[in-house]
Amino acid sequence: MSWTVILVGSFGCYVLKLVGTFVPARLLAGPRVQTFSKLLPVALLVGLVVVMSVDGGRRLSIDARIPGMLAAAVAIRLRAPFLVVVVAAAVTTALVRLAT
């Protein structure tokens, strides 16, 4: 992995934080800005979840990742701690791969 991407990416994330401290808070008061700023992370995170679960390289692939993600969903429903959610997903996927 390239160091340039890591450093440029980090610098950009920092600038976004810093710029925010200089923008007057009233610009954020509009309900649409508020809603959009709440929904953007939702959209991107759901996108990451779906892509990383079914992307098979330019095609959809239904494989051992799906049962793992279902296990994660069940663990989240049961209000399991973060690490349990991640481990449940990984163990389920690993077991399905072992069995098939």
């Binding site: 810093l18 923008v23 979840v49 051992a64 993600m69 990984a90």
Partner: protein
């Protein structure tokens, strides 16, 4: 120390411990996705915003382009700028100290600071959460990255679902109310349609449009400040 401050310290410790669990998972998965220990730790030190860090590693680790990886990283990081706007009254006035404080503006510090009754308590909550979380996040990343190095074949251990499971855990509490659910469904549909059609990394970017679909329609009254 006043009881209010002691309570804030306790809450901050709880938040930092929860974040440490994510840090271990991040460190290990970053390592198995092709980052070195130094790179995983640098991301936690310098970028210091979990979802962006994970997205950068995920997109690059699954063969996405640098442009796609940076775009997703920055789009996810943009919300910290909005938090900084909300926090600006609590942050130091002097430029030098503000430049330092800005690094610590993330989901958890904003959430802990904005609910306090006085600016002093808000400031105290911001800094106690920032310092505890920063320490735990970086130590746990190092631990995870070292552990991740012991794994030769990540897929055998199901580690390719570690990041998506982590993202699901992050987004699940936010899927409350119709706009958020609608956004989630539209984002999922965009991803499924775009995966066979668009190059790696691009489908996630297209999902950002779902935030526009989920937002309520523009009404005349939105243009004027309503009381």
């Amino acid at each position: 120390m006043t009881p209010e401050r002691r309570k804030i310290m306790g809450d901050a410790l709880g938040v930092a411990l929860a974040v440490a669990a994510y840090g271990v998972a991040f460190g290990a998965t970053a390592r198995t996705s092709g980052a070195t220990v130094a790179q995983a730790c640098s991301l936690s030190l310098l970028m210091f915003t979990g979802a962006s860090q994970s997205a950068l590693i995920s997109v690059l680790g699954t063969g996405g382009t640098v442009a796609a990886a940076l775009s997703v990283t920055w789009l996810l990081g943009a919300r910290n700028g909005l938090y900084a706007m909300r926090l600006s009254a609590l942050l130091p006035r002097s430029l030098g100290r503000r430049v330092g404080a800005a690094h610590f503006v993330i989901d958890e510090t904003m959430a802990m600071a904005v609910v306090r009754e006085t600016p002093e308590l808000g400031r105290f909550a911001f800094w106690s959460t920032a310092l505890m979380l920063f320490s735990f996040w970086n130590i746990s990343t190092l631990v995870g990255a070292l552990a991740g190095g012991l794994i030769d074949d990540p897929a055998k251990f199901g580690l390719d679902v570690a990041f998506p499971a982590a993202f699901l855990a992050l987004v699940a509490p936010q899927l409350q109310g119709r706009p958020a659910r609608r956004t989630g469904v539209v984002a999922a549909l965009i991803a499924v349609v775009a995966i066979p059609l668009a190059p790696k990394g691009v489908p996630i970017l297209l999902c950002a449009m779902a935030a526009l679909v989920g937002a309520p329609p523009i009404r005349r009254s939105d243009a004027k400040p309503s009381q």
